[in-house]
Amino acid sequence: MKKLGLAGVGLLAAFPAMAQDAAAIAPYVFEKVVDKGDVAWMSISTVLVLLMTVPGLALFYGGLVRTKNMLSMLTQVFAIASVVAIIWVTYGYSLAFSSGGAWDSYVGGFDKAFLRGVDVTTMVPTFTNGVWLPEFTFIAFQMTFAMITPALIVGAFAERIKFSSLMVFIILWVTFIYFPMAHMVWWWGGPDFLAEQQTLKLIAEAAGDTAGAEAASANLAANGLLWNWGALDFAGGTVVHINAGIAGLVGCIMLGKRVGYGKESMAPHSLTMTMIGAALLWVGWFGFNAGSNFESNSITSLVIVNTFIATAAAGVAWMFAEWLMKGKPSLLGLVSGVVTGLVAITPACGFAGPMGSLVLGLGAGVACFFFVGYVKNMFKLDDSLDVFGIHGLGGIIGALATGILVNPALGGAGIPDYTSVPGTLQVAEYVFSVHFMNQVWAVGFTILFVGIGSAILFKLVDLLMGLRVANDVEREGLDLAEHGERAYNM
């Protein structure tokens, strides 16, 4: 492998020169090099994302509900993660990360169902020419994303949904919403494929072979819809957070308020658990964000620094905003801000600079505090655990901010360009009107697609089996009625 490595590097290093004069242009040759350091980092990142989900998210949500519904919360998150893991290897991975033929812009096909054709020798590209990963590494990492996203939704209609209906809804939702979204945002050929096709195109054009040139151009465009739109989403702000946030919003509206909402106290039964959950989300999120770099290099570290800063900034911002407006700095406020910061930095973590991340964190923290603390009440919205207020809104802020902070003038990494000098990663000129608008369109599309799609699925399940438990069940609590257990027997 090392040997290949050198060869590969050699070739790549040698390449740019050639690329310049189209006259003597040569086909792009490359080797697929896997570095054990990258595999080690991706493996642990995968584990960290699982840590975010269980116990992280389960506790963050569980601590916020009433004792009588604690287990329902934990079971929902844990069961969703498990069921989706099974779906992922049966057909999910294929729908998200294989060619969809005619539908390729929107969703993948079934060629890789049951992981057909995948073995320890197949590889996937990273964001660097000549650097590849074992396909299983990629499958495992992406699996954890598919596991956590639907689990994020359940906070919006906590303490009132029927477990059976939820399971059915989730299976439909990942199939018709999540996998297509992942495909539209993340499906592309990789740096070496682009370099190869771009070179073929140049050669064909030089040789006046229009057919060949068109074929190459087609290949260059064989990516997901939003990818082709140029949407920037480093670690899944759109696919994961806006996606879950909107679905949650739709869900809490369609299920309606909890019995006693606004009248009885629905205070969190254990902020200790919520703190543990928030902390583990922070810890695990480094796998989520820095793992999305697919390599273990200086950019990985930049992502880590950004994730630290934006998170701390949003936590502190929310805490002080609350201190100022409500008189006291609360732990729940602090950790809510922390999660907001994690959400907001997700799409930007590899594109923004440290100071940009600081500003983004502060902004997102204050904005979400105001939404959750005031706006939400105005709409009498029972988004019980603020899935929209934190993941939806935070995700939108982050996605839009990415279009600004990517600007090198603001310390950003700039717009990646793999084709102008095939075989190398160049930075394209930043144009606000273009690159910011790309983000706007992507966000807009996602809101519509997910909003409408989720509404249809909720309605469907409601008609089929009813979404909500009976009032008495809600009063007694879901733990006893739905799961036959109590969380605590002290």
Partner: protein, 110 residues
């Protein structure tokens, strides 16, 4: 002294009703209630446990004799759902009452 066992979620309602009636204080305890209302069964792996108590709230308040009847009345009205397990109200005679802070006694203490 009036002692009542009611359904937990009725507590706020009952309290408000009593306050408007002029009851100025009470002691509330979370209890395990046994009665005709049956409990539930819990299953943990192989083991099944029949939990035959139901969580209830126990209200305990001392009121002037004049108020007693209305209080019993108000509680039973507000706490009633008509479903089994609504609870019970008992009245007991109190010999003396005293407010620690001031030393006032009997009716002044309430």
């Amino acid at each position: 002294m009036i002692i009542a066992a009611i359904k937990p979620y009725k507590l706020d309602e009952v309290r408000e009703a009593l306050t408007t009636l002029g009851v100025r204080g009470m002691m509330v305890t979370e209890i395990k209630g046994f009665g005709t209302q049956s409990g539930h069964t819990e299953i943990y792996r192989g083991a099944e446990y029949a939990v035959n108590f139901v969580p209830k709230m126990r209200l305990e308040m001392v009121v002037s004799d004049g108020l007693a009847e209305q209080v019993v009345d108000t509680i039973s009205k507000t706490a009633r759902t008509g479903k089994i397990g609504d609870g019970k109200i008992f009245v007991i005679d109190v010999q003396s009452a005293l407010r620690v802070r001031t030393g006032e006694t009997d009716d002044d203490a309430l």
